[in-house]
Symmetry: C2
Subunit: 216 residues, 2 copies
Protein backbone atom coordinates (compact mmCIF):
# COMPACT_ATOMS: atom_id res chain seq x y z
CA UNK A 1 0.00 0.00 0.00
CA UNK A 2 1.09 3.60 -0.55
CA UNK A 3 1.31 5.46 2.74
CA UNK A 4 2.11 9.10 3.47
CA UNK A 5 3.81 9.77 6.80
CA UNK A 6 3.64 13.42 7.84
CA UNK A 7 6.35 14.41 10.30
CA UNK A 8 10.05 13.67 10.42
CA UNK A 9 10.54 13.35 14.17
CA UNK A 10 11.21 10.11 16.02
CA UNK A 11 7.61 8.97 15.72
CA UNK A 12 7.42 9.61 11.98
CA UNK A 13 10.74 7.93 11.28
CA UNK A 14 9.96 4.92 13.43
CA UNK A 15 6.55 4.36 11.86
CA UNK A 16 7.83 5.00 8.33
CA UNK A 17 10.65 2.49 8.81
CA UNK A 18 8.25 -0.13 10.11
CA UNK A 19 5.89 0.42 7.17
CA UNK A 20 8.71 0.07 4.64
CA UNK A 21 9.80 -3.09 6.42
CA UNK A 22 6.29 -4.45 6.03
CA UNK A 23 6.51 -3.90 2.26
CA UNK A 24 4.60 -0.65 1.93
CA UNK A 25 5.68 2.28 -0.23
CA UNK A 26 6.17 5.24 2.07
CA UNK A 27 6.57 8.93 1.35
CA UNK A 28 7.69 11.00 4.31
CA UNK A 29 6.29 14.51 4.28
CA UNK A 30 7.83 17.59 5.82
CA UNK A 31 7.69 21.38 5.48
CA UNK A 32 10.14 21.34 2.56
CA UNK A 33 10.55 18.77 -0.20
CA UNK A 34 14.26 18.39 0.55
CA UNK A 35 14.12 18.19 4.35
CA UNK A 36 17.49 16.91 5.54
CA UNK A 37 16.17 14.53 8.20
CA UNK A 38 13.77 12.98 5.71
CA UNK A 39 16.57 12.69 3.14
CA UNK A 40 18.74 10.78 5.63
CA UNK A 41 15.84 8.48 6.34
CA UNK A 42 15.16 7.90 2.64
CA UNK A 43 18.83 7.14 2.00
CA UNK A 44 18.81 4.44 4.67
CA UNK A 45 15.33 3.04 4.10
CA UNK A 46 15.64 1.60 0.60
CA UNK A 47 13.81 1.92 -2.67
CA UNK A 48 10.28 1.89 -1.25
CA UNK A 49 11.01 5.14 0.63
CA UNK A 50 10.66 8.65 -0.74
CA UNK A 51 10.18 12.15 0.56
CA UNK A 52 8.21 15.30 -0.31
CA UNK A 53 6.24 18.12 1.22
CA UNK A 54 3.33 17.50 3.56
CA UNK A 55 1.09 18.04 0.52
CA UNK A 56 3.10 15.58 -1.60
CA UNK A 57 2.93 12.89 1.07
CA UNK A 58 -0.81 13.39 1.60
CA UNK A 59 -1.41 13.13 -2.14
CA UNK A 60 0.84 10.05 -2.41
CA UNK A 61 -0.74 7.99 0.35
CA UNK A 62 -3.85 5.86 0.22
CA UNK A 63 -3.37 5.99 3.98
CA UNK A 64 -1.96 9.04 5.79
CA UNK A 65 -0.25 9.07 9.18
CA UNK A 66 -0.13 12.32 11.15
CA UNK A 67 3.11 12.11 13.12
CA UNK A 68 3.73 15.86 13.32
CA UNK A 69 3.99 17.73 16.60
CA UNK A 70 0.47 18.30 17.87
CA UNK A 71 0.78 22.06 17.82
CA UNK A 72 1.77 21.93 14.13
CA UNK A 73 -0.66 19.24 12.96
CA UNK A 74 -3.52 21.38 11.67
CA UNK A 75 -1.11 23.57 9.68
CA UNK A 76 0.79 20.60 8.27
CA UNK A 77 -2.41 18.85 7.17
CA UNK A 78 -3.78 22.16 5.91
CA UNK A 79 -0.98 22.42 3.37
CA UNK A 80 -2.46 19.39 1.59
CA UNK A 81 -5.24 19.89 -0.93
CA UNK A 82 -8.66 18.99 0.47
CA UNK A 83 -9.15 16.32 -2.20
CA UNK A 84 -5.91 14.64 -1.19
CA UNK A 85 -7.33 13.91 2.26
CA UNK A 86 -10.97 13.37 1.28
CA UNK A 87 -12.10 9.81 1.91
CA UNK A 88 -8.67 8.73 3.14
CA UNK A 89 -7.97 7.10 6.45
CA UNK A 90 -5.96 9.61 8.47
CA UNK A 91 -4.20 7.93 11.37
CA UNK A 92 -3.62 10.56 14.04
CA UNK A 93 -0.74 9.59 16.30
CA UNK A 94 0.02 13.12 17.56
CA UNK A 95 -0.45 14.48 21.06
CA UNK A 96 -1.48 18.06 21.84
CA UNK A 97 1.58 18.72 23.99
CA UNK A 98 2.22 22.25 25.23
CA UNK A 99 5.83 22.80 26.29
CA UNK A 100 5.38 26.53 26.95
CA UNK A 101 5.10 26.02 30.72
CA UNK A 102 8.16 23.77 31.00
CA UNK A 103 8.40 20.09 31.83
CA UNK A 104 6.43 17.95 32.10
CA UNK A 105 4.37 19.45 29.27
CA UNK A 106 0.67 20.14 29.62
CA UNK A 107 -1.90 19.83 26.82
CA UNK A 108 -3.11 22.69 24.64
CA UNK A 109 -6.51 21.07 24.26
CA UNK A 110 -8.23 18.53 26.49
CA UNK A 111 -11.25 17.58 28.53
CA UNK A 112 -14.12 18.82 26.33
CA UNK A 113 -12.21 18.64 23.04
CA UNK A 114 -9.18 16.91 21.58
CA UNK A 115 -6.62 17.31 18.83
CA UNK A 116 -8.18 14.43 16.94
CA UNK A 117 -11.55 16.17 16.98
CA UNK A 118 -9.94 19.43 15.87
CA UNK A 119 -8.40 17.58 12.94
CA UNK A 120 -11.68 15.82 12.11
CA UNK A 121 -13.52 19.17 12.16
CA UNK A 122 -10.84 20.88 10.05
CA UNK A 123 -10.86 18.04 7.49
CA UNK A 124 -14.41 16.70 7.61
CA UNK A 125 -13.93 14.44 4.59
CA UNK A 126 -10.93 12.66 6.07
CA UNK A 127 -11.64 9.52 8.08
CA UNK A 128 -9.67 10.26 11.25
CA UNK A 129 -8.66 7.39 13.49
CA UNK A 130 -6.77 8.16 16.70
CA UNK A 131 -4.37 5.49 17.87
CA UNK A 132 -0.86 4.71 19.16
CA UNK A 133 -0.51 8.09 20.90
CA UNK A 134 -0.50 6.43 24.33
CA UNK A 135 2.80 4.61 23.86
CA UNK A 136 6.45 5.42 23.19
CA UNK A 137 7.42 5.38 19.50
CA UNK A 138 9.44 2.17 19.82
CA UNK A 139 6.56 0.40 21.53
CA UNK A 140 4.18 1.62 18.79
CA UNK A 141 5.77 -0.59 16.17
CA UNK A 142 7.12 -3.31 18.46
CA UNK A 143 4.66 -3.96 21.28
CA UNK A 144 6.65 -7.01 22.40
CA UNK A 145 9.27 -4.59 23.69
CA UNK A 146 6.99 -4.39 26.73
CA UNK A 147 6.45 -7.95 27.99
CA UNK A 148 3.04 -9.35 28.83
CA UNK A 149 -0.41 -8.10 27.98
CA UNK A 150 -0.96 -4.39 27.40
CA UNK A 151 -3.28 -2.42 25.21
CA UNK A 152 -3.51 0.09 22.41
CA UNK A 153 -6.65 2.15 21.84
CA UNK A 154 -8.43 3.14 18.64
CA UNK A 155 -11.28 5.57 18.14
CA UNK A 156 -12.89 7.29 15.19
CA UNK A 157 -16.22 7.96 13.53
CA UNK A 158 -15.73 5.66 10.52
CA UNK A 159 -15.97 1.95 11.25
CA UNK A 160 -14.33 0.88 7.97
CA UNK A 161 -11.38 3.18 8.60
CA UNK A 162 -11.01 1.80 12.12
CA UNK A 163 -11.03 -1.73 10.74
CA UNK A 164 -8.21 -0.82 8.35
CA UNK A 165 -6.21 0.68 11.20
CA UNK A 166 -6.79 -2.39 13.36
CA UNK A 167 -5.40 -4.53 10.53
CA UNK A 168 -2.35 -2.28 10.29
CA UNK A 169 -1.85 -2.42 14.06
CA UNK A 170 -1.96 -6.22 13.89
CA UNK A 171 0.76 -6.10 11.24
CA UNK A 172 2.80 -4.01 13.72
CA UNK A 173 2.51 -6.87 16.21
CA UNK A 174 -0.46 -5.80 18.33
CA UNK A 175 -2.57 -8.86 19.20
CA UNK A 176 -6.26 -8.46 18.28
CA UNK A 177 -7.33 -8.90 21.90
CA UNK A 178 -5.12 -5.97 22.92
CA UNK A 179 -6.57 -3.46 20.48
CA UNK A 180 -9.37 -1.68 22.33
CA UNK A 181 -11.99 0.17 20.28
CA UNK A 182 -13.26 3.05 22.43
CA UNK A 183 -15.89 4.27 19.99
CA UNK A 184 -16.15 7.57 18.19
CA UNK A 185 -13.50 10.24 17.82
CA UNK A 186 -14.53 12.02 21.02
CA UNK A 187 -12.87 9.16 22.92
CA UNK A 188 -9.60 10.83 21.95
CA UNK A 189 -10.29 13.15 24.89
CA UNK A 190 -9.52 10.15 27.05
CA UNK A 191 -6.52 8.78 25.18
CA UNK A 192 -4.91 12.20 24.76
CA UNK A 193 -5.50 13.05 28.42
CA UNK A 194 -3.75 9.78 29.24
CA UNK A 195 -0.53 11.60 28.39
CA UNK A 196 -0.83 13.50 31.67
CA UNK A 197 -0.60 10.17 33.49
CA UNK A 198 1.86 8.66 31.02
CA UNK A 199 4.34 11.49 31.55
CA UNK A 200 4.23 10.98 35.34
CA UNK A 201 4.68 7.25 34.92
CA UNK A 202 7.67 7.81 32.65
CA UNK A 203 9.16 10.03 35.34
CA UNK A 204 8.54 7.42 38.04
CA UNK A 205 9.66 4.40 36.01
CA UNK A 206 12.60 6.14 34.34
CA UNK A 207 11.79 4.64 30.94
CA UNK A 208 9.34 5.07 28.08
CA UNK A 209 9.23 1.33 27.54
CA UNK A 210 6.03 0.67 29.44
CA UNK A 211 2.33 0.63 28.75
CA UNK A 212 -0.94 0.09 30.51
CA UNK A 213 -3.08 -2.96 30.21
CA UNK A 214 -6.79 -2.96 30.85
CA UNK A 215 -7.60 -5.69 33.37
CA UNK A 216 -11.15 -6.85 33.88
CA UNK B 1 -7.59 4.39 64.47
CA UNK B 2 -10.25 7.12 64.41
CA UNK B 3 -11.14 8.05 60.86
CA UNK B 4 -13.48 10.70 59.48
CA UNK B 5 -15.13 9.91 56.16
CA UNK B 6 -16.62 12.96 54.48
CA UNK B 7 -19.36 12.15 52.00
CA UNK B 8 -22.30 9.77 52.18
CA UNK B 9 -22.40 8.60 48.57
CA UNK B 10 -21.44 5.14 47.37
CA UNK B 11 -17.73 5.86 47.71
CA UNK B 12 -18.02 7.18 51.26
CA UNK B 13 -20.23 4.33 52.41
CA UNK B 14 -18.05 1.67 50.80
CA UNK B 15 -14.85 3.04 52.31
CA UNK B 16 -16.44 3.63 55.71
CA UNK B 17 -17.78 0.07 55.81
CA UNK B 18 -14.37 -1.34 54.91
CA UNK B 19 -12.67 0.76 57.58
CA UNK B 20 -15.11 -0.38 60.27
CA UNK B 21 -14.57 -3.96 59.14
CA UNK B 22 -10.85 -3.47 59.63
CA UNK B 23 -11.46 -2.40 63.23
CA UNK B 24 -11.28 1.36 62.87
CA UNK B 25 -13.69 3.81 64.51
CA UNK B 26 -15.37 5.75 61.74
CA UNK B 27 -17.46 8.90 61.80
CA UNK B 28 -19.25 9.64 58.56
CA UNK B 29 -19.64 13.35 57.89
CA UNK B 30 -22.35 15.04 55.90
CA UNK B 31 -23.98 18.46 55.54
CA UNK B 32 -26.25 17.81 58.50
CA UNK B 33 -25.58 15.89 61.70
CA UNK B 34 -28.67 13.71 61.20
CA UNK B 35 -28.27 12.92 57.48
CA UNK B 36 -30.60 10.05 56.68
CA UNK B 37 -28.22 8.10 54.45
CA UNK B 38 -25.49 8.30 57.07
CA UNK B 39 -27.97 7.23 59.77
CA UNK B 40 -28.89 4.13 57.77
CA UNK B 41 -25.23 3.33 57.38
CA UNK B 42 -24.53 3.81 61.09
CA UNK B 43 -27.48 1.58 62.00
CA UNK B 44 -26.08 -1.24 59.87
CA UNK B 45 -22.39 -0.76 60.54
CA UNK B 46 -22.17 -1.52 64.24
CA UNK B 47 -20.84 0.19 67.32
CA UNK B 48 -17.63 1.54 65.79
CA UNK B 49 -19.68 3.68 63.37
CA UNK B 50 -21.05 7.16 64.06
CA UNK B 51 -22.19 10.20 62.15
CA UNK B 52 -21.93 13.97 62.34
CA UNK B 53 -21.40 17.06 60.26
CA UNK B 54 -18.41 17.42 57.93
CA UNK B 55 -16.83 19.48 60.74
CA UNK B 56 -17.58 16.79 63.35
CA UNK B 57 -16.06 14.05 61.18
CA UNK B 58 -12.95 16.12 60.43
CA UNK B 59 -12.49 16.85 64.13
CA UNK B 60 -13.07 13.18 65.05
CA UNK B 61 -10.59 11.62 62.64
CA UNK B 62 -6.86 11.23 63.02
CA UNK B 63 -7.18 10.44 59.33
CA UNK B 64 -9.74 12.12 57.05
CA UNK B 65 -11.11 10.74 53.78
CA UNK B 66 -12.62 13.15 51.28
CA UNK B 67 -15.31 11.13 49.50
CA UNK B 68 -17.55 14.06 48.67
CA UNK B 69 -18.49 14.97 45.10
CA UNK B 70 -15.56 16.85 43.61
CA UNK B 71 -17.59 19.99 42.99
CA UNK B 72 -18.58 20.09 46.68
CA UNK B 73 -15.24 19.07 48.22
CA UNK B 74 -13.75 22.47 48.98
CA UNK B 75 -16.98 23.65 50.64
CA UNK B 76 -17.36 20.44 52.64
CA UNK B 77 -13.79 20.59 53.90
CA UNK B 78 -14.15 24.33 54.47
CA UNK B 79 -16.88 23.73 57.04
CA UNK B 80 -14.26 22.09 59.27
CA UNK B 81 -12.14 24.28 61.56
CA UNK B 82 -8.64 24.80 60.21
CA UNK B 83 -7.10 23.19 63.30
CA UNK B 84 -9.15 20.05 62.74
CA UNK B 85 -7.37 19.45 59.43
CA UNK B 86 -3.95 20.83 60.32
CA UNK B 87 -1.28 18.14 60.30
CA UNK B 88 -3.77 15.42 59.44
CA UNK B 89 -3.49 13.07 56.50
CA UNK B 90 -6.32 13.95 54.15
CA UNK B 91 -6.97 11.17 51.67
CA UNK B 92 -8.56 12.70 48.61
CA UNK B 93 -10.56 10.13 46.68
CA UNK B 94 -12.81 12.63 44.83
CA UNK B 95 -12.86 13.39 41.13
CA UNK B 96 -13.56 16.83 39.66
CA UNK B 97 -16.48 15.61 37.57
CA UNK B 98 -18.61 18.16 35.74
CA UNK B 99 -22.00 16.79 34.76
CA UNK B 100 -23.28 20.11 33.41
CA UNK B 101 -22.64 19.10 29.79
CA UNK B 102 -24.32 15.70 30.09
CA UNK B 103 -22.78 12.23 29.92
CA UNK B 104 -20.06 11.23 29.96
CA UNK B 105 -19.05 13.99 32.37
CA UNK B 106 -16.06 16.22 31.75
CA UNK B 107 -13.76 17.65 34.44
CA UNK B 108 -14.12 21.10 36.01
CA UNK B 109 -10.36 21.31 36.53
CA UNK B 110 -7.57 19.49 34.73
CA UNK B 111 -4.35 19.68 32.76
CA UNK B 112 -2.48 22.48 34.59
CA UNK B 113 -4.24 22.05 37.93
CA UNK B 114 -6.22 19.41 39.80
CA UNK B 115 -8.80 19.09 42.54
CA UNK B 116 -6.16 17.63 44.85
CA UNK B 117 -3.99 20.69 44.35
CA UNK B 118 -6.96 22.99 44.92
CA UNK B 119 -7.61 21.20 48.21
CA UNK B 120 -3.94 21.34 49.21
CA UNK B 121 -3.84 25.08 48.47
CA UNK B 122 -7.11 25.72 50.35
CA UNK B 123 -5.91 23.73 53.37
CA UNK B 124 -2.14 24.16 53.36
CA UNK B 125 -1.65 22.52 56.76
CA UNK B 126 -3.43 19.34 55.75
CA UNK B 127 -1.27 16.56 54.30
CA UNK B 128 -3.20 15.74 51.14
CA UNK B 129 -2.68 12.36 49.50
CA UNK B 130 -4.55 11.59 46.29
CA UNK B 131 -5.40 7.95 45.73
CA UNK B 132 -8.10 5.42 44.75
CA UNK B 133 -9.89 7.89 42.46
CA UNK B 134 -8.96 5.82 39.38
CA UNK B 135 -11.08 2.81 40.31
CA UNK B 136 -14.72 1.97 40.97
CA UNK B 137 -15.74 2.14 44.66
CA UNK B 138 -16.03 -1.62 45.01
CA UNK B 139 -12.58 -2.15 43.53
CA UNK B 140 -11.15 0.49 45.89
CA UNK B 141 -11.69 -1.69 48.95
CA UNK B 142 -11.50 -5.09 47.24
CA UNK B 143 -8.91 -5.03 44.47
CA UNK B 144 -9.23 -8.81 44.02
CA UNK B 145 -12.62 -8.14 42.42
CA UNK B 146 -10.53 -7.47 39.31
CA UNK B 147 -8.36 -10.54 38.70
CA UNK B 148 -4.65 -10.34 37.97
CA UNK B 149 -2.20 -7.51 38.43
CA UNK B 150 -3.45 -3.94 38.30
CA UNK B 151 -2.39 -0.76 39.99
CA UNK B 152 -3.47 2.03 42.29
CA UNK B 153 -1.66 5.37 42.33
CA UNK B 154 -0.69 7.62 45.22
CA UNK B 155 0.70 11.14 45.15
CA UNK B 156 1.23 13.89 47.67
CA UNK B 157 3.77 16.32 49.04
CA UNK B 158 4.23 14.64 52.44
CA UNK B 159 6.21 11.39 52.40
CA UNK B 160 5.08 10.30 55.86
CA UNK B 161 1.43 10.84 54.96
CA UNK B 162 1.90 8.83 51.77
CA UNK B 163 3.49 6.01 53.76
CA UNK B 164 0.45 5.93 56.07
CA UNK B 165 -1.87 5.81 53.08
CA UNK B 166 0.14 3.01 51.49
CA UNK B 167 -0.23 1.03 54.71
CA UNK B 168 -3.98 1.63 54.68
CA UNK B 169 -4.18 0.58 51.01
CA UNK B 170 -2.34 -2.63 51.87
CA UNK B 171 -4.93 -3.30 54.56
CA UNK B 172 -7.59 -2.85 51.84
CA UNK B 173 -5.91 -5.67 49.89
CA UNK B 174 -3.67 -3.76 47.48
CA UNK B 175 -0.35 -5.60 47.09
CA UNK B 176 2.68 -3.40 47.78
CA UNK B 177 4.00 -3.93 44.24
CA UNK B 178 0.75 -2.60 42.80
CA UNK B 179 0.78 0.70 44.70
CA UNK B 180 2.55 3.19 42.43
CA UNK B 181 3.91 6.38 44.01
CA UNK B 182 3.81 9.07 41.31
CA UNK B 183 5.48 11.78 43.38
CA UNK B 184 4.09 15.10 44.54
CA UNK B 185 0.50 16.27 44.52
CA UNK B 186 0.76 17.72 41.01
CA UNK B 187 0.70 14.13 39.72
CA UNK B 188 -3.03 14.25 40.53
CA UNK B 189 -3.35 16.05 37.19
CA UNK B 190 -2.54 12.70 35.64
CA UNK B 191 -4.66 10.47 37.86
CA UNK B 192 -7.69 12.78 37.73
CA UNK B 193 -7.39 13.14 33.93
CA UNK B 194 -7.40 9.33 33.81
CA UNK B 195 -11.14 9.59 34.45
CA UNK B 196 -11.58 10.79 30.87
CA UNK B 197 -10.18 7.46 29.70
CA UNK B 198 -11.77 5.46 32.51
CA UNK B 199 -15.26 6.68 31.58
CA UNK B 200 -14.75 5.61 27.96
CA UNK B 201 -13.46 2.23 29.07
CA UNK B 202 -16.48 1.76 31.32
CA UNK B 203 -18.70 2.50 28.34
CA UNK B 204 -16.83 0.04 26.15
CA UNK B 205 -16.54 -2.73 28.74
CA UNK B 206 -20.00 -2.27 30.19
CA UNK B 207 -18.76 -2.58 33.76
CA UNK B 208 -16.90 -0.56 36.38
CA UNK B 209 -15.11 -3.67 37.57
CA UNK B 210 -11.88 -3.12 35.70
CA UNK B 211 -8.62 -1.33 36.23
CA UNK B 212 -5.39 -0.62 34.43
CA UNK B 213 -2.09 -2.24 35.20
CA UNK B 214 1.22 -0.64 34.40
CA UNK B 215 3.29 -3.10 32.38
CA UNK B 216 7.02 -2.57 31.94
Amino acid sequence: MKIGVLGTGMVGKTIARKLVGLGHEVMMGSRTADHEGAAEWVASAGERASQGTFADAAAFGQFVFNCTAGAASIDALGSARAEDLAGKTLVDVANPLDFSQGMPPSLFVCNTDSLAEQIQRAFPEARVVKTLNTVNHEVMVDPARVPGGHDVFVCGNDEAAKAQVVELLRSFGWPAEHIVDLGDITAARGTEAHLLLWLRLRGTLGTGHFNVGVVR
